[in-house]
Amino acid sequence: MLTDEQLLKYSRQIMLPQIDIAGQEALLNSHLLIIGLGGLGAPVAMYLAAAGVGELTLIDDDKVDLSNLQRQIIHQFESIGKDKVESAKITALSLNPETRINIINYRPGEEEMSTLIEQANVVIDCCDNFSTRFMLNRICHNYRVPLVSGAAIRWEGQLSTYTYEQGTPCYRCLYEEDAFNDQTCTQNGVVAPLVGVIGSMQAMEAIKLISGTGHTVTGRLMLFDGMDMSWREIRFKPRPACPVCS
């Protein structure tokens, strides 16, 4: 049952017939995991807290650095040197004090991550390395917890959602698992609003998944090119020999 304050606070979402009271209640009763509180995780955490997601678990082992502030807009100048999850929690709570926020300032191993994911409604992958991305896909597939995956570097971004429903592909159907080098924003650069574009779309996917409305980009990989402001949509299917989901 929404309070009068909640009805006012979330009124612009509730008035959308696709969300309505039931969708807002679903958001308030949901628990989402955000892996990585950098460029992508910043808008994801801010939008989801503000939109009324009831509980967020934030995971990142990094600390805020001056070079982060150009794009990681959840962190402020006075947060330099703090754990990113602590800094992100402060900002998210300033947007919405009723959000329950758990923070983990280290990289959980596969067993601990499995326990965390099993308790979540949606996982949002905002990390910066392939080994974590493949691990999240394995665990999310195992527990059938939807995974919203975003990546961004230089002027290009990628987005897809994995619901693990029958007949839909997983992250491993799209990407070959290998020890290839991660291309990090630290080494390659990234234009500031790019992570806002992709992160905002990840938050949008999460809200649709929780409120049960619309169509997610399952089976589609969205590619954004900021240089010519173009989107490309790639379709892909479950791979018959996929070691995770086949």
Binding site: E156, Q158, M227
Partner: protein, 89 residues
């Protein structure tokens, strides 16, 4: 003619302008592109002739199925797009 284009991310490593070729399969199209741009091949293919792990290819925006021998067929006006996996966050 089949159009072959490459992701912006690849262009920072090596010259790979869009190309137009006559080809009936992905393998044939890429072979013709690599004949004109010899250094490009080693960025896209491994020493067995299959796609490198971090590279993906689409035909008319559908991910190809055969990463090893690149036998996916092409129509006369197909577009082949070569892209890379991204991990930055």
């Amino acid at each position: 003619m089949v159009k072959v284009i490459f992701t912006e991310n690849l262009k920072r490593h090596i010259d790979c302008p869009p190309c137009e070729v006559e080809a009936a399969s992905v393998a044939e199209a890429l072979a013709k592109v690599f004949a004109a741009h010899p250094r490009l091949g080693s960025y896209i293919l491994d020493d067995q002739g299959g796609l490198r792990k971090h590279v993906m290819v689409t035909v008319d925006n559908n991910l190809i199925l055969d990463r090893e021998s690149l036998s996916d067929p092409l129509d006369q006006n197909s577009e082949v797009y070569v892209l890379q996996a991204l991990s930055g966050g």
